[in-house]
Structures are given as structure tokens and as C-alpha cells.
Amino acid sequence: MLDYNYFIENFEKSPLIIQVVWAFIMTIIFFIIIITIYLKYLRSFLRANEKLKNKIEKEYETLVINYLYAGDETDKISSEQQSIIEQLKSNIFETFRRNILISTLLKLSYEISGEMAESLHRLYIQTGLLDYSLSKLKSRKWNIIADGIRELTLFHVKEVQEQVKIHINHPKTEVRSAMQLYLVNLFHFEGLDFLNNITTPISEWDQIQLLEVLQLHTNQRVTSINLWLKSSNESVVFFALKLAKIYNQYGVKDELIALLDHKNIKIRIEVIHLLSYLNIIDVKTILKNKFKELTLEEQIAFFEMMENLYEMTDKPFVMEHILNTNFEIKFSALKILRNLNIEEFNRFKNLTVEPEFVRIVKYIESN
């Protein structure tokens, strides 16, 4: 007791700063105690949660598989299936369990199609999960809305498109991208209409996802992409270029040629690659004529095109570039020359002893 009093006395006599520091020390100790207890609680909670989750997951997996397996080949719901539906329905009042069921269904719906997939979609509707997804759309939190749209997408709920489309201009990228995926997943090329008047950029990541979805539905008629190539939204132009490549859109040749003068260099380069891919040979003259005005990257892209589309008449042009300072252009030019006329190539192969040139010649000769 004496020590304690001594301490108090000392403390009271200390300068203010020491008193403040001690106050901080006490606060931190208090925090450490609280946070340690919280950690203990948190860890046990997480452990228990995971255990429970695994258990429920197994349970639901078995139920879902039994449900699918119990289906006869018709659209009717069998009595056995009905009882599984009832069982699940009574089970999903808690968000925790509901989320597990949804992820269980998703685990399978990514992998299967056909009658079984449809049967899975019916299960989603019959158990009432649909209503929960719809209520998510009205949430104030963007991540919940995005989540709801994602669920509606994966279970192919076409009927609610109006409710989903409301979010076309949502300030959060994730919501917009979920909405775009919904439209394309369910309505394929028709779903792409949103490209006509979208002003926000579509990221490369989202573009890839949209294209992947489109490719799942192979026998679709490609809608006209002309308008998108002219879009003032550059990401829409990029997207249209990818569509043109995947679906071999020779019809948009004029639009593509116009894009060779686009102000964005990345677009110009993509266009050169695409024109080469589509074997549009008349572009060569256009590009040859303004070759000197092109940026180096465009020149390289153009030579890649030449490798693909060279003709005898290109020889003088190619000859000009076998000593180009750029490795790629030099390599392309020499390769084309060899392919056009091997004697000519042999005549020029000792033109210089510049090591890069020599290496390229040697490589071309042995391949």
C-alpha cells in the first residue's frame, strides 16, 4: 500500500508531460487488453463459423445433388424434388445459410448446362432465393446491389431486366459492370445495346468478361458494330475492335481505315493489327505512303502486317528498311525479303557487319 501511495505522490509531483505520457500508457494498455480479448473471441468465432459452414455446405451439396438426380427428364418437379425444396426453403431464413446455399448452387452452375442447369435455376426460384436477390437490388450499399445482380445473372432471371437496367449509370464501376454482364449473359448481342450511349469507360477486365460470355453462345448473329467503331467513348471502340476480330467483320473495312487517323495511338495500333488479321490488303498502300509520319510502334505494327500480306510489289519498300535501326523492323524486312526472293536476300546478306544484322541474317538462314 505504501508503494502505491508513493507512486501516486510521485506522479502528482511529476511535470505535466510525464503525466500526459502516463495517461497515454494507460490508454494503450487498456486498448491492448480489449483488443486481445477481441482477438480471442474473433478467432474462436471464425473457427466455429468455418466448421459450421463446412458442415452446412456438405449438407446442401448432397441435397442439391439429390434434387438434380431425382429429376426425371421432363420439366415437372417430382415429389421427391418438392420435398427437398421445402427442406431448403425452411432452412434459409438466416443470411449465413442462404449465402452458403447460393454459393453451393453457383459452384455447380458454372460447370453445367442443359436440363440440369435449368433444373438448378428452378431450384433457385422455388426455394425463394430469387426474392432475396431482388430485395438486394434495392439496397443502399453498392456491393449488395452488385451482388444481387450477379445472382440474377447466374440463375438466368430474364424477367427482371427493367429493375436491373435502372443501374445503368450507377456511380460505382462494379455495379455497372455487373449490370452489363447481366444483359450480355441473358440477351447476348442484343444485350450490348448499352454500348450505344454509355459514357463511362469499360475496363479491359470487363471487356474480356463480356467477350467470354458472348463466345459461349456461338450461333448468334453479330449485330452491326459500325456505330461502336465511331463511338466517342474510346473503350467502346476498343471493344468493337475486339468484336471485329473475333467475329471476322470484313464489312467494317471503311470504318477501320478511318480509325487509322484516330487520335489515340493505342487504337491506331490495334487497328493496324486487326486490318492485318482480316487480310485487308489495300490498306498497305495507305500506310506505306505515310510510313514516315507514323510513330515507331505503328511502323512496327505495319511491318508485322507486311509479314502477313507481302507481295512482290512491296520489294522496293522492304529493301529500304533492311537497315532500319529498329530490331523488329529490320528483322521483318529481312524475313520478307528472303521470302520474296532468296537470291536477292543472299546478295544483300553481307551488306554490313553490324552484329545485330549478322545475327538476324544467321537466324533467318537457319530457320
Partner: protein
């Protein structure tokens, strides 16, 4: 009873396919990765192999290569690939795959193909 080895890391899909194919009277042996697949094949010498291409550590391609080149075995092999993997599918055929199905696929369609091959 004809034996089928199924290599698939999605436990639900493999369970579903197991049920579905066992109903048709086949025996299913399930592996979750490439290594297990090869062990099962070597041990049981199945009549048919179903394998996903994308598998941890030893890929589906390597499984095919192992069966055809190391074991010198002509067991039919159906590969599952994700959509858009044409190149990989081509490689699989080059290595000796018999058929392929691109995910998502219809389990009933798979059953039909299995029946056709094992007739």
C-alpha cells in the same frame, strides 16, 4: 462393370457425374488432381478416362501424355476444358485425346458420349 476414372477438382460436379454414370452401370473412380489421376489409372487400368484440363500440379495435358507415351495405353480419354481454350484443346488432341467437352456442359450429353465410346 466398366471402370471410369474421373479427374475433376470441383467436388460437386464429380459427385453429380458419379451418380449419373453409376446409374448407367459404370464404376467411377474419382481423383481430385493430376497425380491421383495417374495413380488411379495405373492401379485400375480403366476403360475410359475423363479429365479436366486445368488441374493443380499435373495438368490434364500431362495426364494424356503420360497415358499415351509412358504407359503406351490407348484407353479413350475425354477432356473437359473451359470455353475459349481452343488452343489447349488442340494440344490435347495432338497428345491423343479422344473427345472433348467444353464447360459448362450438359451432364446428359456427357453420358451419351460415354455410352457411345464404351459401347
Amino acid at each position: 462393370m466398366k471402370k471410369i476414372v474421373l479427374a475433376e477438382d470441383n467436388s460437386m460436379l464429380s459427385m453429380l457425374l458419379k451418380f449419373r454414370l453409376e446409374k448407367e452401370g459404370y464404376t467411377l473412380l474419382i481423383a481430385e488432381n493430376g497425380k491421383e489421376t495417374i495413380e488411379l489409372i495405373e492401379e485400375h487400368n480403366p476403360e475410359l478416362i475423363l479429365t479436366d484440363i486445368m488441374m493443380p500440379y499435373i495438368s490434364g495435358l500431362e495426364v494424356i501424355s503420360h497415358v499415351r507415351n509412358k504407359l503406351n495405353n490407348q484407353t479413350p480419354i475425354i477432356v473437359f476444358s473451359a470455353s475459349g481454350q481452343e488452343e489447349i484443346v488442340l494440344k490435347a488432341f495432338k497428345l491423343g485425346a479422344t473427345d472433348f467437352m467444353s464447360k459448362p456442359f450438359s451432364p446428359n450429353e456427357l453420358v451419351n458420349r460415354v455410352k457411345k465410346i464404351l459401347r
